[in-house]
Point group: C2
Chain length 359, copies 2
DNA sequence: TTTTTTATTGTGCACGTGCACAATGCATTT
DNA sequence: AAATGCATTGTGCACGTGCACAATAAAAAA
């Protein structure tokens, strides 16, 4: 019943060799007689040895330094949530000697991305967590990190194909499919849906939005001949955005459901409320503006992109790789949560929505 | 920029005392002159000391033994998922010297619960994780554990009011509310909903089902005058269950939506399919029988009770308390996930849907 | 003053690992 | 036979903590 965990000393005794020899076998750095090798391996097979990670990491106990490169969180509620995830991870791993510093860039300026990266390099970090918003620049980053053997992981935006960087995030195509499904479930006799993109960046650069739209359309094309309208809004001012939405909705009255591909569903919700329209509405992200309308019933579902967990895990992978030599996964896809009024509370401030990683 | 983590030795040097004195101050076990006390405290305040948990747990490195007392997982897909969570936790904490053994009981026999507990006591464990399905018997368990200072936590079934045992699970009332909301969203013009209970235990003993029903009714009474029918099935044989459902549905044809309070939604789904009814259906748990009907469209939503995470965290709390002296939370409520066809895959076998706990 | 008691402070060790380096055995060369 | 080289093996140390115990200083008793 009671399993004992064996130590190197135990193994040495059992194999009638010294600790050093066992160590040499375990890390196979040669200089072991065939005789001893066989004896040690015999014991190892019998007992199924697992090294004590605590002792190991105490031994390698140095202070690791991890830099995070992400969009400025002042500007955006979504990134603020990521920031929280980073902070939680920082708190978590502090006791294991990992300290974390943040560096920011502006979404509209690729230059600011590389500028911050230069600063990071000056600080000479052991690890890097980044949002590779600019794929060309990011490639350079990966190269430099490989060269200096800086451990890195990405989140939110998937790295380009072919790059073997750890990615924590969601399946964007599936996310779009889910949006379509929810609208479809809300009104099974729907005849017309509207896609709304409201985004700072050019749509052509926003690969994640393209993937989402692709998924949205794919779902519907598989099971109905619902007409799909599309409205892409570039204004950065809320008033202008809403004016355009209002104009569009007045022009086309019998839309059954609206899917907003970004976190700006609240902009549409307000217009719907003012126009007293009962159109179904599905959007993304649990930012305060959205959750208010979810509670009032103007938004039916919000799809949670789990920004907090994305950021948290991205840091966690790097930190545990450094501190415990744990392997980093190539891809860590988070669930795409459906949030309605009645389960909203569990996705807000959920400090414990996190995970020790497998060894 | 670079934060150093201070050690006791550092503090001793700064306060011009020895390691021993710092140690005495930190664990305030007296025998320190006022003079030294002040100096050490000054340093402590300045540097915000956090002990190195790795070193600490290496020091206290013994093998901990944790017993898990849960329903037999052979009988039930739900408990099988819990079993997986336990196994994952076992794997995770093995490297930290925590080994885990399982003991089972039968849901229908309170006696088997205490029998297994007796066996557990013989093994003399340091920690216990249990599903307190029988509240009276559980009380005795808590008492014995307190007496022998066995660390314990519960999951799935909340312990009785007034007991201060760590509980990992979900808010049952809210879970019922969510079920009602989903049905309501699926058909906003609904006039009649049906509650179906299919359960092994007596309804009177199944407090969690009672709470769920309460939440279901509460939601609807707040915002509509939908008629609520109720069908409680006691048969343990699937054929008998379905016969009763078929009879009921044939008798009352214009039901807008059905909510099954347990994991037996598949039984209803099959009947609906055979009768070619398009009634909305919401149930619980991602067991294979259910997910098949979810994929076929006979079930609209499944509510995920997160059995795997419940079990995992319940073990994790005990293990981290033992190995790292982390505090155990009084209550750890997991999110109530809404699962549809398009996000189902992320909730199946999601090895990483877990969390390192806060310190 | 010397001895004993008491209050405070300093030091040694173990936990398990991983590395550096010292020590041993054995065969080959001088 | 002594000296040298090489292959293999054994040992010491550090990581940071927490506890036991030794050492010191100061006060009280002789």
């Amino acid at each position: 019943m009671e399993k004992k965990s064996y130590t190197i000393k135990d193994i040495a005794k059992m194999a009638k060799v010294s600790r050093g020899t066992v160590d040499r076998v375990l890390h196979n750095r040669g200089k072991v007689s065939e005789d001893a090798l066989i004896r040690v391996n015999e014991v190892l097979e019998k007992i199924n040895y697992h090294p004590n990670l605590i002792a190991r990491s105490l031994k390698n106990s140095k202070d690791y330094y991890v830099a995070v490169l992400m969009p400025d969180y002042q500007s955006d509620a979504y990134w603020k949530t990521c920031y929280k995830g980073i902070k939680d991870a920082a708190k978590e791993f502090k006791s294991y000697g990992v300290s974390i510093d943040l560096y920011f860039f502006t979404m509209s300026e690729a230059g600011s991305f590389m500028e911050s990266f230069e600063k990071i390099l000056e600080a000479n970090p052991d690890g890097l967590v980044l949002v590779p918003a600019f794929s060309q620049e990011a490639k350079e980053v990966y190269q430099v990190c490989d060269q200096r053997s800086i451990v890195y992981s990405t989140f939110n935006t998937p790295p380009e194909e072919g790059v073997e960087a750890t990615f924590v995030g969601q399946d964007m195509v599936q996310s779009g499919r889910l949006g379509a499904e929810l609208l479809h479930l809300l009104d099974k006799d729907a005849s017309k849906f509207l896609i709304v993109h409201i985004n700072d960046e050019e749509f052509e650069n926003a690969i994640h939005l393209q993937k989402k739209e692709k998924g949205f359309r794919a779902y519907l094309s598989e099971r109905s001949d619902i007409e799909i309208l599309r409205l892409s809004i570039q204004h950065s001012d809320l008033q202008d955005q809403q004016a355009e939405i209002r104009k569009f909705l007045k022009g086309d009255s019998n839309i059954s459901g609206i899917w907003v591909s970004s976190s700006k569903a609240f902009a549409v919700a307000e217009v719907l409320r003012d126009l007293k329209l009962k159109t179904s509405l599905v959007g993304y992200d649990l930012i305060e503006e959205n959750t208010r309308f979810l509670e009032d019933g103007n938004i039916d579902f919000l799809i949670n992109q789990n920004p907090r967990s994305q950021a948290f895990f991205s840091v966690a992978h790097v930190a545990e790789k450094l501190a415990f030599q744990k392997e980093m996964p190539e891809e860590h896809l988070l669930p795409i949560d459906i949030v309605s009024r009645e389960n909203l509370i569990f996705y807000l401030n959920n400090k414990r929505n996190r995970t020790k990683l497998l060894i």
